[in-house]
Symmetry: C4
Subunit: 210 residues, 4 copies
């Protein structure tokens, strides 16, 4: 905080606080996912083992989507973490790409809950898939903007590393598109495809030799 004050608002953006806000939104969105596992009204609860068990069973689709959404958000958080490690400074455009991405991160508890509520309607899974696709594309655009011509990344970051990260970030959006196509043909098990992500990652690493 010395003479840089004079070079305008642009210079006041610090990587640290954007990281802090993003980590907060990630942590909070991951915790809020649990809201989708809603219990019935106190007054309609019956104190029998059968009723208690039926509540759990009725939530099976919500549980599946909770686990998927939590782990995928964790994977996105890791990508965010890895990206930020290479970034030297940030600018306004980068901040706004990040904020719009966070808008979709914060929306995930809604679409997870929606997908869990409609296990037998493809639209449920599609809304979930579209949300993940939007987060992934936001992450991709952010990295593309930051890394093109080493705009915001450290000069020491290698081109090969930049490309490798680009391929890795695109894996989840790619799986989302496949899920949307599978769901659009009327299948209701499309969300299970997210479990193939680790396999797809290995394949990508082989094919592109990254």
């Amino acid at each position: 905080m010395t003479d840089e004050t004079e070079t305008g608002e642009e210079m006041h953006l610090t990587k640290g606080r954007l990281e802090g806000l993003s980590d907060g939104i990630f942590a909070f969105a991951m915790t809020l996912l649990v809201i989708g596992l809603s219990l019935p009204d106190k007054t309609s609860i019956v104190q029998t083992p059968e009723f208690a068990a039926s509540i759990l069973l009725s939530l099976h689709s919500d549980f599946l989507h909770y686990v998927l959404a939590f782990l995928i958000l964790g994977a996105f958080w890791l990508v965010h973490h890895v990206q930020y490690h290479s970034i030297r400074h940030i600018d306004k455009i980068f901040v706004w790409i990040n904020l719009v991405t966070m808008l979709f991160v914060a929306l995930l508890p809604f679409s997870t809950s929606y997908a869990g509520d409609f296990p037998n309607v493809p639209l449920g899974a599609i809304v979930f898939d579209l949300n993940l696709f939007a987060i992934g594309m936001g992450m991709f655009l952010q990295w593309l903007y930051a890394s093109r011509g080493h705009r915001l990344v450290e000069p020491t970051v290698k081109e090969s590393y930049i490309r490798q990260l680009r391929y890795h970030i695109l894996i989840i959006p790619f799986v989302s598109v496949v899920c949307i196509l599978v769901a659009a043909t009327g299948n209701t098990w499309s969300s299970a495809l997210y479990m193939t992500i680790p396999v797809v990652k290995i394949a990508v690493d082989r094919i592109f030799a990254v």
Copy 2:
């Protein structure tokens, strides 16, 4: 933590922790906005594509307000970020102006949800606008208090920069007042005016040559 202990409570306020608390409240309020997108009770859900689609459609006003509120909170967070960069130390009055501003930040999930619930009643939008106006004025007062006579800001911060930031902070409250006036005459599309903020900002920069 040396002899400053003796100069009284005032001295113990550190910029870092107030920043942390504020970032936390911003991140949580932004994530809690999603609460406004409420889904119907489990028991009233019908597993048909038509029902699933109708739920999404019924939320269109909530979605619009979610996006607006998230991005405007993001803009306020940026202003907060930029302000704090110039601040050297803080005092009790500054802390309390900040806490009252945060009170309105934390209230936004309520007024966003309220506005989304009443797409056809001007009062819905007005409550939303008033909340944004209160946040904006809090931000403005905070900066006015900190920057007048360089009370809390670094001595190197230029007068022109202080004025520029004042004008910029007033843009959102100004648009809020216009929205209130438009809504008060019975229009229900007033919230769309917030999309003009980037244009207004360019105009302000031109007119005041800041």
Copy 3:
């Protein structure tokens, strides 16, 4: 992280992370207070100005308690902040006093909502008062434990400062007790007494010449 590893678990407690957890709980509890301002079910909403206005009016007691709870939590956060500034190291007992205090901080969204729901029943306000009393006494015990014989505070911290902070911390619990007594006699305006806190503080400073 050098040879201190060998001196046992006790040594591994760092002030910074406890501060971080506490700030997180404070920020989140302050933001969750808004949950008390609940809107009616989507299906029971009527799109008329009268209905929209009646919703706001029915929330007047919730609003009052939201504002009180937010500002009092803000005051407690300030006390926490000021306390931690003087603390040099922490131990397990201190951590557990702090965690139990946080248990009551996290409970406040519940008792605020409860008090807001029963504007005409003294028990509503009493539950709110008891919660604030518990937070205040937790804060007091924490400071008493840390400051007695300079157990955990910096050696440079003056006895007069330690005493001054003790008196200050007791102000809110004292007002809570008065509120409980006033509510127990059947009055429903007792919560308004919290607005006298700034006055009580000035009086305490005069009387004890702290």
Copy 4:
């Protein structure tokens, strides 16, 4: 951020941000527990002392589970804190064990609420116990992975300390298993056994002379 860029993604994982994300999830999960203490709908509230008192009484099981869950999460947070103090660097496997553990931390508000809703059905307590067991085993695996052969911990950390921490971490999962067995035989007071944790800890320290 120098030449390490070239050694691959693995190197970019920093202990600090994982700690921050985990602290965030701990703080939010602890605060979200309060959601389990749900109040009846505004419209069904009667403004009488009897009704207000009956609401509190109906929540007694929820209160008990709130307190237990908050304090046990606090204990797990302490374990997390102590573990991380000894860790020098992290790798991908460690991050994923941590994220899966956090998945169960974030799930606790659900199972606490579920247990509180079924005070008279053993399944309620068993779901709560299983969730705590999963968190504890996650914590244990994390420490086992990090400490075996000093894989991720500082070389100065003593073998005796590593073993001591292993025993300590297993105490809560052990109590959870006892609770499950007690609940499975039809008892509904099993959760009270968690109050024996401090006693079990002293016994473990005596028996294994750790």
